[in-house]
């Protein structure tokens, strides 16, 4: 341990703080952020960007390879693969986003409550979280599909619940550390309310860790939701989705037409690599207290 404590000057406005966090992740982090930005743009405008209707089958073109106007060829029903990839980004990206928003909001709330109250409340919350750990996310999502029927909504809600204890556990540690800082006691002495201290000081101070946690979680949610759709329990065909595209074109692998399934796989892997690299770097920086 060195004696000199590094002093971080935090930017005051939200925008410049976000830029500072991103800059701290280095070139690999920035490259990942660009990939994520492109994927988000496609998720928002994909159906408009698609050169052909993504749901229009033409069986005479089934498994036809790339041609001039159709860069990635046609799938098992003769639909344009590129158009389905662009349109399928929507469900592939929005599902994980919903999971992350719900589980990180709930997880933060629980973690901050446990850390603020300490004592018995903390003990009850912590053992509750330990018990909830017994449910793997995918299994919970399959259970939800059996009860409420297959679909993206049921799977997303199930994953949000399954991920929540992971978020709460990591953030509880950070919130407990922040809770014992002298400035919190000082604010309490001045008569500031618990809600105001938490919302205006404690949560903003652990925000880098929350952002890092949310980024890492997005990758897990994307893989798990794509897996649920691959299993036929998430997004329902003929709606375009990257997970669905792999499952519906899997027969092409054995017949020598692997392109449609592989293209969807490459999309998933690319976004997940970007999210993992960015999340890991943000997490390291946040742990070191540099952002």
């Amino acid at each position: 341990m060195s004696a000199a404590v590094p002093v971080t000057v935090r930017s005051t406005t939200r925008g410049s703080r976000a830029v500072g966090m991103l800059r701290a992740t280095g070139p690999a982090g920035i490259a990942s952020a660009i990939v994520i930005a492109v994927a988000t743009f496609v998720a928002l405008f994909g159906p408009l960007l698609a050169p052909y209707p993504p749901d229009l089958p033409n069986l005479s073109l089934a498994w036809v390879g790339p041609t001039g106007g159709h860069l990635l060829g046609f799938d098992f029903q003769g639909r344009d693969v590129l158009s389905r990839l662009l349109a399928g980004a929507q469900t592939a990206m929005l599902g994980p986003l919903a999971v992350v928003i719900v589980s990180v909001t709930a997880g933060t709330l629980i973690a901050v409550t446990a850390a603020w109250r300490r004592g018995a409340t903390d003990a009850v919350i912590s053992s509750g979280l330990d018990i909830l750990f017994a449910f793997p996310g995918i299994l919970f999502a399959v259970l939800a599909a059996a009860v409420f029927g297959a679909g993206l909504a049921a799977a997303s809600i199930a994953l949000s619940i399954a991920y929540m204890p992971y978020v709460a556990r990591v953030l509880r540690g950070a919130a407990l550390k922040e809770r014992s800082q002298p400035y919190v006691a000082a604010l309490e002495v001045q008569g500031a309310s618990a809600t105001s201290i938490c919302l205006r000081h404690l949560v903003p101070n652990i925000a880098p860790l929350i952002v890092a946690q949310a980024t890492i979680l997005f990758g897990y949610a994307m893989v798990d939701l794509a897996a649920i759709s691959f299993l036929g329990l998430g997004v329902q065909p003929p709606n375009p989705n990257w997970g669905v595209m792999i499952s519906e074109n899997q027969s092409g692998i054995l017949q020598g037409y692997p392109l449609p399934a592989l293209a969807a796989g490459v999309c998933i892997v690319t976004v997940v690599i970007a999210v993992n690299v960015l999340g890991e770097r943000l997490f390291d920086q946040a742990q070191a207290g540099r952002i």
Partner: protein
Amino acid sequence: MLVASLLVASFVIFAALYLAPGNPLAALSGGRSLPPASIAVLEQRYHLNEPFLAQYWYWLDNALHGNLGISITLRENVSTLIASRIWTTAGLVLYAALIILVLGIGIGLVSGLRPGVLDTGTLVTTAVSAAIPAFVAAIVLILLFAVKLGWFPALGNGTDLLSNIRHFTLPAVALATASLAIVARVTRASVREEGDREHVQTAVSRGIPPRNVIQRHILRNAAIPITTITGITIASLIAVAAVVEVAFSLNGLGAYLVQSAQSKDLAVVQGISLVLVTAFVLVNLLVDVMYAVLDPRVALGSRAQ
């Protein structure tokens, strides 16, 4: 803690399917309308008119005695149906666990102890393979090793032990891909961290042979985080196995669970969920026992960090 986890999990499984839309009587009769006398008999036999908690208790009691009810679609005991498929899933998960233990920890140790080009290569490779979902790994492996090279069969279970191993190799590798990379990365990081500690540097500067330093000081301390990550990833394979079983058309519990979820065969969904959650909790228990073996301080009552 273990019993509490299992109780809560079993309660969630029962409650979720109790709340599922649809009348159990209609399911039992196959949709036909029944005379009041048979309705009364059925309600009594399946405790349908008793309170929710009593029904949960009957279900749990039966489950503990190995009676998980009857599949609506196949009209067979759920326990029999599970027993005939459990070894496929267990074999698949154990095979993948073996790959993770040998390759994941092995690669992590080598790259942690020997910085250089190999180490950088490992970092990049594992960053990519940690992002490959099991079903994407499955289609790539089928394409390369079954369709192009023909070394392994693409689909199915196999008949005897030798052909089982051949049939299970690609699925096990697909299941292990992402976890292997994560285990290798954590192993590498913890070996590196322990190697940088002051007592290790002191031991090196005192001229203690590298082999002893590695065995006594680096590996013993790095063993705890390595055990944690290996345990977590292997436990998670139990659920992910479903994806691999579907991709390779293996006749295992996970594939059957998915199929039953689609056909709303709720007794089967309950039974398999219960078995998988129990396995998940048991693997986590095994990890806790391993802590005590690896680190004597844990046995004194403190928790492994």
